[in-house]
Structure formats: structure tokens, C-alpha cells
């Protein structure tokens, strides 16, 4: 956030300059490629001459778009994504057909007034070549019906594509999806890791251009947030921990080991806090009042109970647990005995 704040004044100039540039490029682009119509044969000849212009303009367009993504305030709904969606997208990307550079699919979820929550997705087979794109609509419809049987509250809210750019084909596909859902979301997941990160972005389309003459479509970016159910978060945490060894992780650590590792994590956090405090005391770091207040909260959270009360509470709890353990063991012995007696 801070970074963004700093960049804003510097970049407003660039922004306004680029805005003019965008308009010009868009007009040229629209004229040469026809965003909303597939290239006709008459325009085929134009393709040759405008080829360079088109590639230049599209690359510029992309650059500007990504630049805008960093600084622009976002209109439109907030997109909340569950990690299961991303996992499925990566999975379908890894399973794509030979020769396909990217994968597309439908996003399912729920919409709200101000946000769109993406909870599920499935991939749709499609073929993409230089001038045309074919998407298996039938398949998409079928899958949606099947998914609806399981979770009837999910609706189509958009579509996703892997890859860095938004191509002209995307526009066509987006058009198809706007027939299925009002104001569909387009999600891109950069699996080619072009900027050393997996950029996950969401867009919503809006009309732009010169009304009456050539109209185009612009994809405006949206904020993306990650939402987890509690249990999802625990699942994700487990996997984060095993990121170190990319091969194995056991889902089942023994009971006490889990508590031990959780305690270990708390201990780590405490050591970090302690070292920070020591730094402040020795003057290396400036003391921050807000952090200090948090620390005071932390220390006061340990409840102040008189020693005897605490002792008695602790003992009664321990006794409960021990009794339950004893009963459980007794039960197990009992059924084992029963088993043997029957067999006699």
C-alpha cells in the first residue's frame, strides 16, 4: 500500500500521457483488427500492412494495462478467490493438450452487490489458432448442469485463462460468456511465470471507443482477494509447511507432535517479538507507540488468576482428561476381552 501511495503522484503524469496514447492506439487497433468482428477477407490485405502496427499496439496496450493495474483505483466488484479454484486452474494447465499454449475454463461462484466470490471452476476444451478460436460450448453447458446438481447455489460468473496477455480471442470468448452471465469476470493466471511470479488478475469488460463508428472492448482490472474457509486455511497451511520438500508431506502427524509444532511456532513468534524489544531497549530501533500498545495487550492477555485458583482449575481439568483416558482404555480392553470370549 505504501508503495502505491508513493507512486501515485509520480505516475499521474504518465497516466494522463498514456491515456491519450491509449485512445489513439485503440482506435488504430480497432481499425486494423476489429475487436468485435472476426477479420473479414476484405480486411485480410490490411492485415499485412497493419501487422506491425497491430503487434506494436497490442504490446504497448499490454504494458500499459499492467502498469495501470498497479496504480489505478479499481471500479467494479472485488473478486474473492478461493484457493481451490487456483489449484484446479494450475492442474488443468498441467494437463493441457499437446500444442495448446493456454487453457480456458468457466468460473462458478456467487455474486454480491460489491463482490464476486469464486468458489469453483472447471476447464473447457478449446482450440486456438492464429485467426480463430473454437470453444466447446456444449461441454461447458453440460458441466455446468452437472455442477449445479451438487451445489445449486453456484452460478457462472465468468471465465479464466492461463497466460499473460489478453488476446483478441479473449474478447470473443468473453462475449460468449457475457451471454451466460451478466457482467462476467475474466481471470488470468500467469502460469508461464513471465515476471517471476504467478500473477493472478481479474478483469471486467467495458465498452469503449468511438460510439457509432468502431466500438471496442476494454478490460478493466479489479482487485483480487483471497478468501478461505477456516478448514481451507488449515489445509493450505499444511501445504505451505511442506513447501520446503517438494515431494513429500505426511498429512498425519501424531497428535502430540502437532501440539509441539504449534507451540514451536508460537515460540518463534515470541522470540521475534523479544528480539524486537531488545533492539528497542538497546536503541537500535525507534520505539513505535502502536506496537508498544499491542505488546501491552499481549502481556495483559494472560489472565491474572491467583495461584491457588489456577492450581485447582488446572488440576480439575487434568483429572477430567485423565479419567476420560482411563475410561477409553478400559473400554478398549473390554471389547478386546469380549472378542476373545466370543471366539472361545
Amino acid at each position: 500500500m505504501l508503495n502505491h501511495m508513493i507512486h501515485v503522484p509520480v505516475s499521474i503524469l504518465c497516466f494522463t500521457a498514456n491515456f491519450l496514447l491509449i485512445r489513439e492506439i485503440h482506435v488504430a487497433n480497432v481499425a486494423s483488427t476489429g475487436f468485435c468482428q472476426p477479420p473479414t477477407s476484405a480486411g485480410g490485405q490490411q492485415h499485412e500492412s497493419h501487422g506491425d502496427l497491430r503487434s506494436l499496439s497490442s504490446s504497448l496496450f499490454i504494458i500499459i494495462l499492467h502498469f495501470l493495474y498497479e496504480i489505478m483505483a479499481v471500479h467494479g466488484p472485488v473478486v474473492k478467490i478461493h484457493p481451490v479454484v487456483l489449484a484446479s486452474i494450475v492442474d488443468s494447465y498441467e494437463r493441457r493438450n499437446e500444442g495448446a499454449t493456454r487453457v480456458i475454463g468457466t468460473l462458478l461462484g456467487t455474486t454480491d452487490k460489491h463482490s464476486v466470490e469464486v468458489t469453483n471452476c472447471f476447464s473447457v476444451p478449446h482450440n486456438e489458432s492464429e485467426d480463430e478460436v473454437a470453444v466447446d460450448m456444449e461441454f461447458a453447458k453440460n458441466m455446468y448442469e452437472l455442477h449445479k446438481k451438487v451445489s445449486p447455489s453456484e452460478v457462472i460468473i465468468g471465465w479464466y485463462a492461463t497466460g499473460y496477455d489478453i488476446t483478441e480471442h479473449s474478447v470473443l470468448i468473453h462475449e460468449y460468456y457475457s451471454r451466460e452471465a451478466p457482467n462476467p469476470i475474466h481471470l488470468t493466471v500467469d502460469t508461464a511465470l513471465q515476471s517471476n511470479k504467478m500473477n493472478i488478475r481479474a478483469y471486467v469488460s467495458s465498452q469503449m471507443g468511438v460510439p457509432g463508428k468502431t466500438v471496442g472492448v476494454m478490460f478493466t482490472p479489479l482487485t483480487v482477494k483471497y478468501v478461505y474457509y477456516d478448514t481451507e486455511r488449515i489445509g493450505v497451511e499444511l501445504l505451505q509447511r511442506t513447501r520446503a520438500s517438494p515431494s513429500r508431506t505426511n498429512g498425519l502427524t501424531t497428535d502430540l507432535a502437532q501440539v509441539a509444532s504449534a507451540a514451536g511456532r508460537v515460540q518463534e513468534m515470541l522470540t521475534t517479538v523479544l528480539s524486537y524489544i531488545e533492539d528497542i531497549l538497546s536503541g537500535k530501533v525507534m520505539a513505535d507507540n502502536s506496537v508498544g500498545r499491542f505488546l501491552m495487550d499481549l502481556v495483559n492477555k494472560v489472565p491474572k488468576i491467583t495461584a491457588e485458583d489456577f492450581e485447582s482449575m488446572l488440576n480439575s481439568n487434568i483429572n477430567d482428561l485423565l479419567m476420560v483416558t482411563y475410561l477409553a482404555n478400559l473400554t478398549q480392553a473390554q471389547i478386546a476381552l469380549n472378542e476373545k470370549l466370543v471366539v472361545l
Binding site: V84, S88, V150, P246, A263
Partner: protein, 362 residues
């Protein structure tokens, strides 16, 4: 809650990519052709060069959205068998049971799903199924039947049990079970009498064998995880260190008590059966003795002995109660006890931690 019952079992043969719905009359040869001859898998790997993390997340999500309360959510696991590992690469959920047209829908749904998934290069071979559980109570007749039919058709199939309540307490609880070969034989013969079980010498601990699970991630997923870690601002909630345990303990103990009641009823029935049997034996003995005495008397008097009557017709042995339920109940109780013990040991640890924390203060 009828689960996937035997006559709705579906599996697919890979070579011709056919999908067949079949009942018990399946063709073992064709299945073998695909699977090849190999030893049954003893190790499950939620594998990923293809990502299995998605399976875990999908199961979690399915429960979260559809199965609140004590309802059970189920679904199908898809994957491959590779050497001695069972790799699960995908899954899809089953719709909840509605009142209308359940049978037709289920079969149709499964077939459609698998056909569609085939189109996008997802492994569409059935390798098992998953189910959510409520406080660990999944050892039931329905589960046994379903797992038996699955395992009958596909040798390596497993059932993944997902415990959402335990997971919500701090750590993912996902276990995979298969039926032991002994139990498979017994189910095949359907001989649940005491003699049958005695012959197979099967105990409640030998009903299910747990298969260790391993989760593998691809590198792309690691990148994704890195990204998520940076961007997601959800703070750790540390539920694992929560001290309030009484709720969970109460419910577990309640369930345990219910099972024990069932168990004691069952034992009572068995006892009455034994008693009846022994009484009958006694009666038989007495009858035979009386017969012999009479015969001796008659002989002494010179009359022909009474004809031998068919004793077995007179004293019909009482019906031996089926022992399968007992076995299941015992298994369930065992499971509950295990869970309770795990839970209490964790809690003891946490209590000692709290003591240490308090000790510093005072």
C-alpha cells in the same frame, strides 16, 4: 443414508475408453487387462506432478458448502495405480440425496462427469470414494458394503475419510482405509455367523487397514503457494492451541455411550442365544437319556425298542445371531476410543503449556 450401493457401481476400462455401469456381474478379465497384474497397492499417494492439493481442497470445500450438521457428504476419487502406489489425482462430489429419482440421476451423473473429465485429460478412472464423518463415526454397515463393492471391482480402491470437525480444530484430518483381505473374504461368502467369523479369526482391529497418505505438489503449485502466502493477509488463528475442549469431549463421549449401549444389547442377544443353545443341548441329552432308559426297560420286558426319532427335527437349534454388527460396533468403539485418547493427550499438553505461561506471571 444409503451410499453408493452395489448395483450402482460404475467403473471404466481404459483401453477403449468405455464407461460401463455394471452390477456384480462384472468381467474380471477386462479389468485385469487394464490394471495389469500387480500386487495390491499398500501405499497411497495423493500424488502430484499433477496436483493433489486440489483434491484435498475440493473435499474440504464440498463439506463446507453442502454438508453442515451431521450430514455426510460423499464423492468419487479418480486417479491411477502406479506400481505400488495409488495416486489420486482428482475428485468430484456427489449431489445430496433428494427424494426424486435418485437412482437414475446418480448413475447418469457419474457417467456424464467421467466422460466430460476425459475430454480435459483428467484421469477418469475410479479409484475410490471419499466421505466426511461426524466425530469419527464412520464404521457402519453402509460404508462396509460400499467399500466392499468398490474393492471387489477395483482391488486397490480406498475410502478417504475426512473429519471436518477435527480439521477445524487445527490440523487436517484425512485418513484412507481399505478392507483387509480377511474381511473381503468374509463379505464375499456372506457368512456372518459366529462359526464363520471364528474360522476366519478376524477381530475388530483387523477390519480396516489404514493406508498412509502422502501429498505431493508440483513446482507450479509451489509457486502458487508462495504467491498466496505473500498476498493473503489472513492471520493464523492457531486453533490448535485452543484450550476449550469440553464441548468436543462431551460429544465424543456421548457417541461412545450410544455405541456402548448398542454393544451391550448385542452382547445380551448373544448371551441369550448361548444360553438357549446350552439349554437345548441339555434338553437333548435328557431326552436321549430317557430314551435309553425306556429302551432298556422295554428290552427287559421283551418289547421292541421305540423307534429312533429324528432328534434334530425335534430340537431345532436356535438361529445364531449375525456377528457382523458386533464387529462393526466394536470397531466403531475402538475408533472412538482412539480419537478420545488422541484428543486428551493433546489437551494435556496444552494444559501444561498454560501452566508454564501462568507460572511465569505469578
Amino acid at each position: 443414508m444409503a451410499v453408493l450401493s452395489t448395483d450402482r457401481l460404475i467403473f471404466s476400462l481404459s483401453d477403449n475408453l468405455e464407461i460401463e455401469a455394471c452390477t456384480y456381474k462384472y468381467s474380471p478379465e477386462s479389468r485385469l487387462k487394464h490394471m495389469g497384474k500387480h500386487k495390491p497397492g499398500i501405499n497411497i499417494c495423493l500424488r502430484s506432478s499433477d496436483n493433489q492439493w486440489s483434491v484435498v481442497l475440493k473435499i474440504i470445500k464440498h463439506y463446507q458448502e453442502e454438508g453442515q450438521g451431521s450430514e455426510v457428504v460423499q464423492g468419487v476419487l479418480l486417479g491411477l495405480v502406479v506400481e505400488d502406489r495409488l495416486e489420486i489425482t482428482n475428485c468430484f462430489p456427489f449431489p445430496q440425496h433428494t427424494e426424486d429419482d435418485v437412482d437414475f440421476d446418480e448413475v447418469q451423473y457419474q457417467m456424464e462427469m467421467m466422460r466430460s473429465l476425459r475430454h480435459v485429460n483428467i484421469d477418469h478412472l475410479h479409484v475410490g470414494w471419499y466421505q466426511s464423518t461426524y466425530y469419527g463415526s464412520f464404521v457402519s454397515r453402509a460404508l462396509l458394503d460400499s467399500q466392499f463393492s468398490y474393492q471387489h471391482a477395483i482391488e486397490e480402491s480406498v475410502v478417504l475419510i475426512y473429519d471436518p470437525i477435527k480439521t477445524a480444530q487445527g490440523s487436517l484430518c484425512l485418513k484412507a482405509y481399505r478392507l483387509t483381505p480377511k474381511l473381503m473374504e468374509i463379505c464375499k461368502e456372506k457368512d456372518f455367523s459366529p462359526e464363520g467369523l471364528k474360522k476366519a479369526c478376524i477381530g475388530y482391529e483387523h477390519m480396516f487397514e489404514e493406508v498412509p497418505i502422502v501429498i505431493k505438489n508440483s513446482h507450479l503449485i509451489n509457486v502458487l503457494l508462495l504467491d498466496l502466502q505473500e498476498k493473503s493477509t489472513v492471520a493464523d488463528k492457531h486453533e490448535l492451541l485452543n484450550l476449550s475442549s469440553s464441548n468436543h469431549l462431551e460429544k465424543s463421549l456421548q457417541l461412545l455411550m450410544d455405541r456402548m449401549d448398542d454393544m451391550s444389547q448385542d452382547i445380551g442377544k448373544y448371551n441369550t442365544y448361548c444360553r438357549n443353545l446350552s439349554k437345548q443341548q441339555q434338553q437333548k441329552q435328557q431326552y436321549l437319556q430317557r430314551r435309553q432308559q425306556e429302551n432298556a426297560q422295554r428290552q427287559s420286558r421283551g418289547e421292541p425298542p421305540l423307534p429312533e426319532e429324528d432328534i434334530s427335527k425335534m430340537f431345532k437349534p436356535p438361529q445364531a445371531p449375525a456377528r457382523m454388527d458386533t464387529l462393526l460396533i466394536a470397531g466403531q468403539i475402538n475408533n472412538y476410543c482412539q480419537n478420545i485418547k488422541e484428543f486428551t493427550s493433546q489437551n494435556l499438553g496444552k494444559l501444561f503449556m498454560a501452566e508454564a505461561l501462568q507460572g511465569h506471571n505469578s
